[in-house]
């Protein structure tokens, strides 16, 4: 079965060991205490950044805004004698950075890719210029704020040198432990899902914008604390904390050290700062330190994408991965089809138990127009609760478009859809998933870098936790109901022997089954299957038909499929679409005897033949 999500404490122990010996080993190698403190400071802001970029895939070029905010708020409170307690000032600076992160994040997370990066960059620059001129009365403008005091512990000030190093080491370690808990929590599982496949994450019922905003604020809090500590450790808050170069340096250090490793930014900072401080003293090559770093950076982005810490981790995990991947056939073989009889389904009971005479799903005059193209036009039909209902039609009839409107993935131009009598049009795919509509897609939408277990867990977590929950501290696999759901879905689609295999190595037929498994693991009341048999081998088709029939016993099923044998065997009712319009709706016998349907399927052939 699946390995425990947080089975090992080795990373924590390794970090403790490194932090303990670093001052004694590294000082002779040209590291000063000051340098070590700065490295830890960069490592701290990097922990948050790696959760944002490494785990969630959001590339921010504006972390300087939060670093600077945390730093200058804490420094101003202390230097301006607003408060005397350094610890309190650090906390307030961190909170201020989090609030700025909340505002910037609220605007930024609605956009993806290039837009997200540019928005963060724009706000970073705005913060820089705000510090520089309009707020210079508080921030000292280009001069920064000198004279930031050090904190004391038990009446003893934490002086520069080794004591300050221990302070930063302890805070970094605390930050690391927290970041790792977050990464391995249900919350973190959703973050990784967003990176792997944002669309599917939303479709299974997680509120993607809420999670993005939450991790954005978390990253801002880390940056804010690091900023405050920067002022404390050098008794001076420099204005260039806000500079674009700060954000850029963080990105470079993270990539060099290893994206998605949490300690990557620390490792990258070690290399960056050590090169800067030591290479500069070497004649002739001194000025080249940043050029060397730049070349290393480009090289890492182009070829060695894992980074330094990433390569080290890879060396430790590759054997386990190879073992998990062993035995996965290159192509779909009939040897690995699912069990002949699908097991009983202990999947969570439908949340909305409705009277069986009410329709589970009802489309009322739904239309979708793309300009002049009428993909779906004024279609009305009902899906009875507990039935297996099929939608058929020639290519281009509008089946997939209709399906997307039934889950509200796309908004209808006109008309509405009711789920158990409740209007769901306008709610969006995340809310409809929470209300109990699951969907497997015509084209696979999987989390390719995650294992089969993790894929199913993402789906199972959705209705168990709601659209958003900040459960940062518990382990992702510590919800028994969710784990039962995952196991049941995995057994149902016959992928138990692949539990710990990363999905990208699975053969196509198994990916196809996982696609259905994800929809199933959400525990839907109504399950929409868009061409579940597409691309499967004959043996797999037989098994999948059995699976569909089995699923149909416990929940309402709506299916689009081209395999007519399968449709007429499985479906209790069939809706026929033709050129976007409803052509017929009835029992398989009625449809079979319908002249219009026969013309639609066969008529196209005759039209173009010479009379």
């Amino acid at each position: 079965m699946a390995a425990r999500v947080r089975g090992t404490l080795w990373p924590e122990l390794a970090v403790v060991a490194v932090l303990l010996v670093a001052p004694f080993v590294l000082l002779p190698l040209g590291f000063s205490y000051d340098l070590l403190q700065r490295i830890l400071d960069w490592g701290l802001i990097g922990l948050g950044f790696d959760l944002l970029f490494g785990a969630t895939g959001l590339l921010s070029f504006g972390q300087a805004a939060f670093y600077g905010t945390g730093g200058f708020v804490a420094a101003y409170l202390l230097v301006g004698h607003v408060i005397a307690n350094v610890w309190l000032a650090l906390v307030l600076g961190t909170i201020a950075a989090g609030l700025v992160g909340l505002v910037v994040g609220w605007l930024a997370v609605r956009r993806i890719g290039i837009y997200f990066t540019m928005i963060t960059l724009a706000f970073g620059e705005m913060a820089y210029f705000l510090e520089n001129s309009p707020l210079s009365h508080y921030t000292g403008g280009e001069n920064g704020l000198p004279g930031v005091p050090v904190p004391s512990l038990g009446g003893m000030p934490i002086s520069a040198g080794l004591p300050m190093y221990w302070l930063l080491a302890v805070l970094f370690f605390a930050g690391f432990v927290l970041a790792r808990r977050i990464l391995h929590s249900p919350f973190g599982a959703v973050l990784r899902a967003i990176k792997g496949n944002t669309t599917r994450t939303g479709m299974t019922g997680h509120s993607v914008p809420a999670y993005k905003l939450a991790v954005f604020v978390i990253a801002a809090l880390y940056a804010g604390l690091a900023g405050g500590l920067l002022g404390v450790l050098q008794s001076y808050m420099p204005p260039d904390a806000f500079a674009l170069d700060t954000s850029g340096q963080l990105v470079v250090q993270t990539v060099i050290g290893g994206v998605g490793t949490l300690v990557g930014p620390l490792v990258g900072a070690t290399l960056w700062l050590w090169l800067r401080d030591n290479l500069q003293q070497v004649p002739h090559v001194g000025a080249l330190w940043k050029l060397i770093l730049g070349l290393i950076f480009v090289l890492l982005v182009v070829v060695l994408k894992r980074g330094i810490a990433g390569e080290i981790r890879w060396a430790f995990t590759r054997r386990r991965l190879a073992a998990a991947e062993a035995g996965v056939p290159e192509e779909t073989g009939d040897a690995a089809v699912m069990p002949p009889t699908a097991p009983a389904l202990p999947l969570s009971a439908p949340l909305v138990v409705a009277r069986t005479d009410a329709p589970a799903l009802r489309a009322i005059g739904v239309s979708k127009f793309y300009g002049g193209l009428h993909a779906v036009e004024n279609v009305s039909f009902e899906v009875r609760t507990g039935s297996i209902h099929a939608v058929i039609g020639p290519n281009g009839a509008g089946k997939s478009t209709l399906f997307k409107m039934l889950k509200d993935e796309i908004a209808p131009t006109a008309g509405e859809v009711l789920l158990f009598g409740r209007r769901i049009t306008g709610l969006g795919p995340t809310r409809t998933a929470q209300l109990g509509i699951g969907k497997s897609n015509q084209l696979n939408q999987l989390f390719l870098d995650l294992t089969v277990t993790e894929n199913l867990r993402i789906a199972a977590l959705a209705r168990a936790r709601g659209t958003f929950r900040a459960d940062l501290w518990r382990a992702a696999d510590s919800l028994p109901a969710v784990e039962r759901q995952v196991a049941a879905a995995m057994e149902t689609v016959g992928l138990i022997h692949r539990a710990d295999v990363p999905v990208h190595v699975l053969p196509y037929g198994e990916k196809r089954r996982l696609e259905i498994g994800i929809a199933l693991a959400t525990g839907p009341n109504v399950l929409l299957l868009d061409e579940p048999l597409a691309g499967m081998s004959p043996a797999e088709r037989v098994a999948t038909r059995a699976l569909v029939r089995e699923i149909g016993r416990t929940r309402t099923l709506l299916i689009v499929e081209h395999d007519m044998d399968a449709i007429f065997e499985l479906a209790e009712r069939i809706t026929v679409l033709y050129e976007g319009r409803l052509l017929a709706d009835g029992t398989p016998d009625e449809i079979q005897g319908n002249q219009a349907v026969q013309d639609a399927y066969l008529g196209g052939l005759h039209e173009h033949e010479p009379a």
Partner: protein
């Protein structure tokens, strides 16, 4: 409230800054629109153009030769960059493209710093640009005035290339749907190379023209890069008319705001950008979901 003559002269300053931003941003936007790559090395390429001008004028004293040799040099740089690096990233996520161009920018900046040192260099104003012109409402340096005309002419040339040649047609079609253009049997990859090189030359020539009125130093490009980002966000990502209009708007925002309170000129620029990204993310001339 600032006086009318001050506002008028600031508006004119805004025009000068705006045309230049338009030229820098036009290179950025055609690369983004066609290749889908946000070129973080654009500021470094702007700087590289200024250094090319510095080298040629220091050797020959000829500004005109500086433009010719510099443009040829930038063309080579563009081709090498595209063939050697950018080409590998067309199929990769946007984040990877941003990282690699950002890294290329660092290497270019640091390479120049290693070769020429961190000191600022100066490029002399060409003989035909010496002196000051009386415009009626203000005195204006001759070269800056001429620059507005030169840049406007270059923008017009770029317009002709994009809108009046068959290559331009391919490029504009590629902005709409690169895959479809490929299906029609046109070698999109070759026009990608051309567009990238053209964008690099546009950045470089901007740097060359700007060299006489600023101090030339390795980090001079970074502020232009960020301002060019603002311009293409205002104008709409990938839109050439958007870059031109966005450049002028950005130039006026900076100049007019500083007539009121110079502390807020840059802040205002980013505030407008942020507002636009929230209210109209496709920009003034862009269409939703194009990039």
């Amino acid at each position: 409230m600032p006086s009318a003559p001050l506002l008028l002269s600031q508006a004119f300053n805004g025009l000068a800054l705006g045309t230049l931003l338009a030229l820098v941003a036009s290179g950025l936007t055609i690369i983004l629109g066609t290749l889908g790559v946000l070129n973080f090395a654009h500021g470094a390429l702007f700087m590289l153009g200024a250094y090319a001008m510095y080298v040629v004028t220091a050797q020959t004293g000829s500004f005109f030769l500086g433009i010719l040799v510099g443009a040829a040099f930038m063309l080579v740089v563009g081709v090498v960059l595209e063939r050697g690096l950018i080409r590998l990233f067309y199929g990769r996520p946007h984040e990877d493209q941003i990282l690699v161009t950002f890294g290329a920018g660092i290497v270019i900046v640091e390479g120049v710093r290693a070769l020429f040192g961190a000191n600022t260099q100066s490029v002399p104003t060409p003989s035909w640009g010496q002196g000051i012109v009386q415009l009626g409402f203000l005195f204006y340096p001759t070269y800056r005035l001429e620059l507005i005309g030169i840049v406007a002419a270059l923008l017009f040339v770029l317009y002709l290339i994009l809108y009046r040649t068959s290559i331009g047609l391919v490029v504009r079609a590629g902005i709409e749907d690169a895959r479809m253009v490929g299906i029609l049997g046109i070698n999109v990859r070759r026009s990608f190379l051309l567009v990238f090189a053209l964008g690099v030359v546009a950045a470089g020539v901007s740097g060359m023209l700007y060299a006489p009125i600023v101090s030339v130093e390795p980090d001079m490009g970074s502020s232009f890069l960020v301002e060019a980002f603002v311009v293409i966000v205002i104008g709409g990502l990938g839109s050439y008319p958007g870059a031109v209009v966005g450049g002028l708007i950005a130039g006026e925002i900076i100049s007019i705001t500083s007539a009121f309170n110079s502390a807020y000129s840059e802040v205002m620029l980013y505030a407008v950008m942020a507002l636009l990204l929230v209210l109209r993310p496709q920009g003034l001339f862009g269409s939703e979901g194009r990039v």
